[in-house]
Point group: C2
Chain length 131, copies 2
Amino acid sequence: MKLITRNTDYAVRALCFLAKQDGRIVPVSGLVKELRAPRPFLRKILQILNRKGLLKSCKGQGGGFRLALAPDKIFLGDLIKILQGPIQFNDCFFKKMFCADLRICLLRKKINEIEKYVISQLESISIASLG
Amino acid sequence: MKLITRNTDYAVRALCFLAKQDGRIVPVSGLVKELRAPRPFLRKILQILNRKGLLKSCKGQGGGFRLALAPDKIFLGDLIKILQGPIQFNDCFFKKMFCADLRICLLRKKINEIEKYVISQLESISIASLG
DNA sequence: ACAAATGATACAAATATGGTATCATTTATT
DNA sequence: AATAAATGATACCATATTTGTATCATTTGT
């Protein structure tokens, strides 16, 4: 079981690299070189981060990407939510089926507590702290 | 992202039910009825738990399953390891590629800390505490 | 002998993840 | 104005994992 998937991993590395560029625009080719990531896959990730407002893109020749926010305002939790969906340790498979039953509630309750801790941690890890 | 998958969920419920049977042998049909789980899928799960020593099976007519250990000696962490594999929040996609690089180590280090906490929690939640 | 149970194992469907391919659009440069 | 270099959008495909299903062999109580 993984906490972060490959696309999040690429995203972290890309953002860390961009954080070191002082706002200079970097084209995908530059990031591909730096990260040795598959180019079309990386493009897809960057485009998503652009749409979500973490990156700012510039089209046309000389274009590329730069951070849209300060590195200490971008958190691992944000990236995971955007690229992997909400963290739901606690997704109940049995919905209304058992939920009157005490032991199920106990399981859910305990997993929920773990989830809350993990989310709070992930929301405290900034790109700046990883750079 | 899920912390426990459906088969683990079934396993928890099955073990909790068996824990209430005072060592009486319960056939799969009994558990299917109790859990409304797909019978062949549940059989597969129970057979795995038997092989791993958490359950004791009895073949033949009148056979079935019972707990092999006291409910306070079986932990959620065990079930997850058996049915979902080792918890590896920290599985590095980039192995030797970047590992000389400081920022990668920072990411891994932080995820490792979260992983350790989660594992310690999962290893503290017993079937008895969920019953 | 028979029926009721598990053991073992191969197969299949559904979903999630990782990645590719293509074409349209924008923009700097010439 | 033409061209080349970049992103935007989107459809598609490959692989792995999860969630099952199906079948036959084996064991055991009656």
